[in-house]
Symmetry: C2
Subunit: 424 residues, 2 copies
Amino acid sequence: MSETQRVAPMAEREMKARAEVLDGKDELAAKRRDFILDTAPDHAADAAGVYLDGNSLGALPANVEARVVDVITREWGQLRIRSWDESGWWTAPERIGDRLAPLLGAAPGQVVVADSTSVNIFKALVAAVRIVQEDGDTERDEIVVDSTTFPTDGYIASSAARLTGCRLIPVAPADVPGVLGPRTAAVLLNHADYRSGRLHDLPGLTAAVHAVGALVVWDLCHTAGALPIGLDEHGVDLAVGCTYKYLNGGPGSPAYLYVRKEHQPRFDSPLPGWNSHVEPFGMRADYEPADDAVRGRVGTPDILSLLAFDAALDVWEGVSTAAVRAKSLALTDFFLECVAAYVPEGRVESITPVAHAERGSQIALRCPDAAAVMKLLIERGVVGDYRAPDVLRFGFTPLYVSFADAERAARVLADTLAEAPGGP
Amino acid sequence: MSETQRVAPMAEREMKARAEVLDGKDELAAKRRDFILDTAPDHAADAAGVYLDGNSLGALPANVEARVVDVITREWGQLRIRSWDESGWWTAPERIGDRLAPLLGAAPGQVVVADSTSVNIFKALVAAVRIVQEDGDTERDEIVVDSTTFPTDGYIASSAARLTGCRLIPVAPADVPGVLGPRTAAVLLNHADYRSGRLHDLPGLTAAVHAVGALVVWDLCHTAGALPIGLDEHGVDLAVGCTYKYLNGGPGSPAYLYVRKEHQPRFDSPLPGWNSHVEPFGMRADYEPADDAVRGRVGTPDILSLLAFDAALDVWEGVSTAAVRAKSLALTDFFLECVAAYVPEGRVESITPVAHAERGSQIALRCPDAAAVMKLLIERGVVGDYRAPDVLRFGFTPLYVSFADAERAARVLADTLAEAPGGP
């Protein structure tokens, strides 16, 4: 399907010229070449497609294929069982956790890469409740969870509450401080809202939770790799997140668990699998946890996916999260400007905060025919995604999205909105 | 290191001749070509190596590399987010579960491939206790676990007991029937002992558990792919297992969870992640589980590892588990005969039962210097493994181990035992 031209030519010329200037000054521009992006899938417009769904599944880093082929053919195919030791498979969860740590603002020794985000939320929340209650605070029996968060967080928090005898208190993020108190054991918060892209105040909310003597668990799925997190600096207790969005680890790549150094000796996992044992190959009947972050592991690590993520981390070489954040904000600002210039007022409404301090790395636009609009956009090579009932999501991954991409996406969006059923 | 020749030439001629006859009659012999086996790693003797550690990590099926490369380069690299739908990623856990099901003796719709064995044990045990207690049997508050089992089963059972308010009763398998009673809620058993290779009586123990009104969870790590299981036929309630041993799924490939059809409506997961929701993309705040085996899922499936396992399942085309079992027993019988013929009496002691009904697909030999012996064996290309304190383990994967392999392994073992520090 060819692109139509419904936007005003003068506006288009101006925005394209600005995109060119911005791309010219972009210190991360060269990173795009580390990704496989400009291939042509099976529909016409894609050869010059714009991928704005890296907040759901990051694009493929160019070096992953060769690394995984080596893992399969040499490490598994030839060395076989010896690779658990000789290829470093056994220690991969903590080794790769240490490689990831700088992107989370964490010193080494606090992150393991393993399991899914949901499973890690369960470990973190149950362990948080246990740490608090071990302090003699057995009257702390409330788990607070953001009621607007990604659903799995709420489901898992509900299970953690049920199994630890706690009461679950779901509230909107703005109301969290108001429900904290002497009965609060743990609080689970998402750093960015998966629908609106709103960024929550990690330092402030962490401090508020600590002020009442409770522990906080942050879900970083929608921020890690897109902005500086500062886990150590802000005193975060526990954190989890996936690796397949802005971290480009591949579909369903293993998630991670951060356990702050000072909490590790009391991290009492509800999933004490043999990988978390101080002496896993001792095959001892009695359970004795490892004395560091390794106690966050459970079962045998998923090597193929884990080492694909390891390779994906190479693209961060020489990249500062501050530079990533600066570009992310510039990209989303510019995209919103293009949308304002190209799309008739009132056709879409941005539900992403304008203030930088409240914005993650995605823009969410609301319109009544969002499902149909996204379908058309994808056919035209502009790939975002749809979240029920009426949200168009566009994720901006600073390592590979250009300002020219942002301009083009807004332009194709304007054309599409003009033609779509809900249009004027 | 070259092979020495310490075994009696006549015995060697006889056993080699018998191996040739047995290999000639082997209906599974051609399957060996579906695996990458005869490559030469970085030590001398390996070019003609014998891989007897498939009970720990199965060898690489030849078609896995191409499949994973396609998943990376086309499905992830080009289609990206669209693959969740168009490449069938989203439904892979249950689709591949259905492919695996015949090897477990299960009808479709009861198996999902996801998470690690440890995580699945947790789901299965907590769910089993809940099913029993939902029947009004709240006085059933005991979880029985095989005290000789692979340690992770005991550790996780202990956590499940703690979180459900049950008492954990660890007993040797032979004593299980003696501790079953009106307070038994659930029983976790391993189908084969990971050290001795002893096969436990799945039909008999399942019936004994049912006779007292409890539910049983079987861990099939050491039997699936090596012998017929018959989950449906024997009325097993829940089962778990890994896919990287006799199922050749690759290092740390996802495990599986079987939930018997009749229990699915009451399977109340302690890990109710969004993947188990009846409408996962509805993003609903209220949790409503899917009405089938899908409620055993938790978080986003690990696609690279999962689809590597999918490819690995291709080798089972046209293979009956009865044929696999027949060859497995013939191989282990023959290996024991070769050991008896080659190794001086008393140098090693087999702790694997002689009776076929009590034998899995591995042979465990005890000798005081087992650690040193296994190290030498591996240097000589005969790869088994060592389990503390004194066990040599040799796994026999019927799809790719030949009788000639068994003979050679026994011969190199005899030479090695003669030279090793604990030798005569």
